[in-house]
Symmetry: C2
Subunit: 140 residues, 2 copies
């Protein structure tokens, strides 16, 4: 029985804190197609949990050791990725250093919540950011 | 580039209500390996969202039209499934009829929360039930 399911990915909404003060969240500029700005993320490997995949990808792409805060959601619209069907598990996480672009990221920056609302992101990352902002309002 | 990731599955914690009164949640007895009691669930198809996969699987296995209440969690321990690595997206959902076993389910029943705590389930479904019971306590 050959079972085929969508690919599993992880993405991180990384909150950056400087001496306990919230600065913004990390966006990258993608080195590979589709080009554009995005949350850092990548594919989950067989044999690793999604939480471990998240920590590995955040380290590889933006050189951050993140702490997971909570699961934000699971995004699986078949059209969310122009390449093929991916299911992304998205976590809110936090770090207290600045990101450094590496691996698939050409650039990385900390974006304030005000500036975030004007960004045009690839995939369905604008929808994820919208859900994140609603989540923050509920918690504040 | 051949990307390999774990298989994606969905499982449902289906709350059954009778005239608005909570009765318990649905468990099935599996027709296929691994044998035992489990939450109803199955594989996500390429081209369908996980929410649509959940509704399809609940209809196929226990003949219920479910309404999704909320995302409970994502379970991805590489050892959770003895066959191969699966990442399960688990939703709390509800229905107001009784389950009827079909497809991969040999039997289906509504189990009260009291009885649920004594059940020995396959995969990591005892862990999922434990998380579900904690979630219910927080909401009540």
């Amino acid at each position: 029985m050959a079972i085929k399911t969508p690919h599993v990915t992880v993405d991180g909404v990384i909150e950056i804190y400087n001496e306990g003060i919230f600065q913004g969240i990390v966006l990258i500029e993608r080195e590979n197609l589709p080009y554009g700005h995005a949350l850092p993320g990548g594919f989950v490997d067989i044999g690793e949990s999604v939480e471990d995949a998240l920590k590995r990808e955040m380290k590889e792409e933006v050189q951050l050791d993140v702490e997971i805060v909570e699961l934000l959601g699971v995004y699986s619209n078949p059209k969310r990725d122009p390449r093929f069907h991916t299911v992304s598990v998205v976590y809110i996480c936090k770090a207290d250093q600045n990101p450094i672009a590496a691996d698939d990221a050409k650039a990385a920056a900390v974006i304030s919540l005000n500036d975030l609302q004007d960004m045009d992101l690839v995939f369905d990352h604008n929808e994820i950011i919208s859900d994140y902002l609603i989540n923050r309002i509920y918690k504040s």
